[in-house]
């Protein structure tokens, strides 16, 4: 079969489409759509009544920033300031490597895992220890048709990995703690 200049015929004519889909073609003109053209001067500055925004004060010490920026931005988030070991890792990622460097992102991910592990351990010294059962929301399975919902899907295979990924470190942690405790008890008894 040779390919020809014509576009293969569409299953429906424009008249059929208009009859079936009442809103067909209401934004037909590509030039008359929002954000066209991509760069378009916004006369109203979207409501801003300044040209240089006020600078937000840094209340939590020097804020980490991408070295691709000239300086701290006039506005920034103040949630979860850096702290501890994970904070040092993250601060290094920001101070040393631009966003163009893979090391920047790998260090940030390392910081994430270090912080999560520390947070879980610290939580055991509080009145509200982390609870992997309630915090993963798996209790919702009961009312959510867990078997029927998963029929005929391609992600069923790797969904079985999730519990291992999530529970694995907890099981390993519990095992290590138990072995350690047993050793201590035996040493004390001896």
């Amino acid at each position: 079969m040779a390919y020809t200049p014509q576009k293969p015929p569409l299953p429906e004519t424009t008249e059929q489409l208009k009859a079936r889909i009442p809103f067909w073609g209401v934004d037909l003109d590509p030039a008359d759509r929002p954000s066209v053209p991509k760069l378009q001067w916004q006369e109203d500055l979207s409501g801003a009544h300044w040209e240089v925004p006020d600078q937000q004060p840094e209340r939590h010490g020097p804020r980490e920033r991408s070295i691709e920026h000239a300086s701290i931005t006039p506005v920034f988030g103040t949630a979860q300031p850096l702290h501890g070991v994970s904070g040092a890792i993250r601060r290094h990622a920001y101070a040393r490597f631009s966003e163009a460097r893979l090391a920047h992102w790998l260090l940030l991910i390392a910081g994430d895992r270090v912080e999560a592990t520390g947070a879980h351990l610290r939580s055991f010294a509080t009145l509200r220890p982390d609870n992997p059962v309630t915090e993963t929301g798996v209790l919702a399975e009961a009312g959510a048709h867990p078997v029927a919902s998963r029929r005929g899907r391609v992600d069923a295979r790797h969904q079985t990995i999730d519990p291992v990924l999530v529970a694995g470190p907890w099981v390993a942690g519990a095992a290590v703690t138990w072995l350690g405790l047993r050793r201590v008890v035996r040493a004390v008894r001896r």
Binding site: Y3, L10, R33, S66, V75, L102, E135, T136, G137, S149
Partner: protein, 382 residues
């Protein structure tokens, strides 16, 4: 106040947190009345986004009531019911002045490659989000608008991200009359993209997913043809067969980093974080579109490199268009479409979770249980 907080990958809980305060003269504090969980939140929840800190409150889709305003706020008053675009933006940097609100340069010290987003890790600026009772809204004169009287709360919250993003996905496809458009992903973003493709005069709209209940909604709500990729050995070949072996004129990736369909890509990208998510849906889009065609990407990816089939994109002479959605720039037209019923987003809301049960909401949405399409989060309703 009560707020959802992140406790590590796949884990979150509701905690008592300090009320947010005015940090900048143009800040407002908004009491959240309705929020939503987005497909993007799943990337954070699964630990895919670097610098997601313990204690972070997610949520970039929310509406609420202005509780407090900073000294320089002129356009909003205490008591106003507002909808807040998921982008945090200043209005006056080089990018905002030209309408690239999602690419603002004045709000995210942590990265230059992405703008500011509520509740979306420190990589997007370190702002706590709206799956909470209160939230800090920076540049209150720029982002939020008062909710029109005629608009329902559901429609308003869906207009803060999901609806503009779906429409934007179709728009980036540069659809002209008669185009064959294939949309990968039948989440709310893909469904709105498919329906928007008709608004722009598509001649044929095809939606691909593996969740049959969502494909059903694609047929009824988005009036599209559907392909369940689980039923085919190779979905790209099916897309060729159904387009006279030329390929579609336009392909839209409305899946992003969590894509299924290739175990190796999924494990390396999603489970083991060796890529910024699985690029399989994007690769399918690149391979399904015809030469000289357009691939529109609204599915989100992380900052770590992905195994994208760039050689195919080059050899095929494709146009690739993508961005985070500049929500407020989309609003005037989308308000019209919602008002006159061309788009009926609230019909896609399937679940409402009280804030206290947000962990269950994430699990149901992440595992795609119980016919979920769009879950909302209701603060103070436990």
């Amino acid at each position: 106040m009560r707020a959802m907080v992140y406790r590590g990958p796949y884990k979150l809980r509701v905690e008592e947190k300090d009320l947010p305060t005015i940090e900048h003269p143009n800040d407002a504090i908004v009491r959240v009345t309705l929020a939503a969980i987005c497909g993007s939140d799943l990337h954070l929840y699964h630990g895919l986004m670097p610098d997601t800190r313990i204690g972070h409150t997610f949520g970039h889709e929310f509406i609420g009531v202005v509780e407090q305003v900073g000294p320089s706020v002129e356009n909003l008053q205490v008591g106003d019911r507002v909808m807040v675009p998921f982008n945090i933006f200043c209005g006056t940097c080089w990018f905002c002045a030209r309408g690239l609100y999602s690419n603002c340069h004045n709000v995210n010290p942590n990265a230059t490659a992405v703008g500011g987003i509520y509740g979306y890790s420190h990589t997007t600026g370190g702002y706590d989000g709206g799956q909470a009772e209160y939230v800090r809204v920076p540049f209150a004169d720029v982002g939020p608008v008062r909710i029109p009287d005629w608009m329902s709360d559901e429609d308003a919250v869906l207009l803060t991200d999901a609806v503009p993003t779906g429409y934007f996905g179709a728009q980036l496809g540069e659809i002209v009359e008669g185009d064959v458009v294939v949309v990968f992903g039948a989440g709310i973003v893909g469904l709105v993209a498919a329906r928007s493709a008709w608004l722009m005069g598509a001649g044929r709209v095809i939606v691909v997913d593996h969740l049959e209940y969502r494909l059903e909604t694609a047929r009824s709500w988005a009036k599209a043809e559907t392909f369940n990729f689980a039923e085919y050995d190779d979905i790209v070949v099916e897309m060729k067969k159904t387009t006279g072996h030329l390929g579609a004129d336009v392909a839209i990736d409305a899946v992003g980093a969590e894509a299924d369909g290739n175990l190796l890509m999924h494990l390396s990208g999603v489970k083991f974080k060796l890529q910024g998510g699985s690029p399989i849906a994007l690769n399918w889009a690149i391979d399904s579109v015809r030469k000289g065609g357009t691939v529109s990407v609204v599915g989100a990816y992380g900052p770590i490199p992905n195994m994208v089939k760039f050689g195919d994109a080059l050899n095929k002479g494709l146009t690739l268009r993508m961005n985070q959605t500049p929500v407020k720039r989309q609003w005037p037209r989308l308000f019209e479409h919602v008002r006159n019923g061309h788009l009926t987003p609230s019909e896609l809301v399937t679940h409402r979770f009280p804030l206290e049960h947000v962990a269950e909401g994430y699990h149901v949405f992440s595992a795609k249980l119980d016919g979920v399409i769009k879950p909302l989060v209701v603060p103070g309703a436990a």
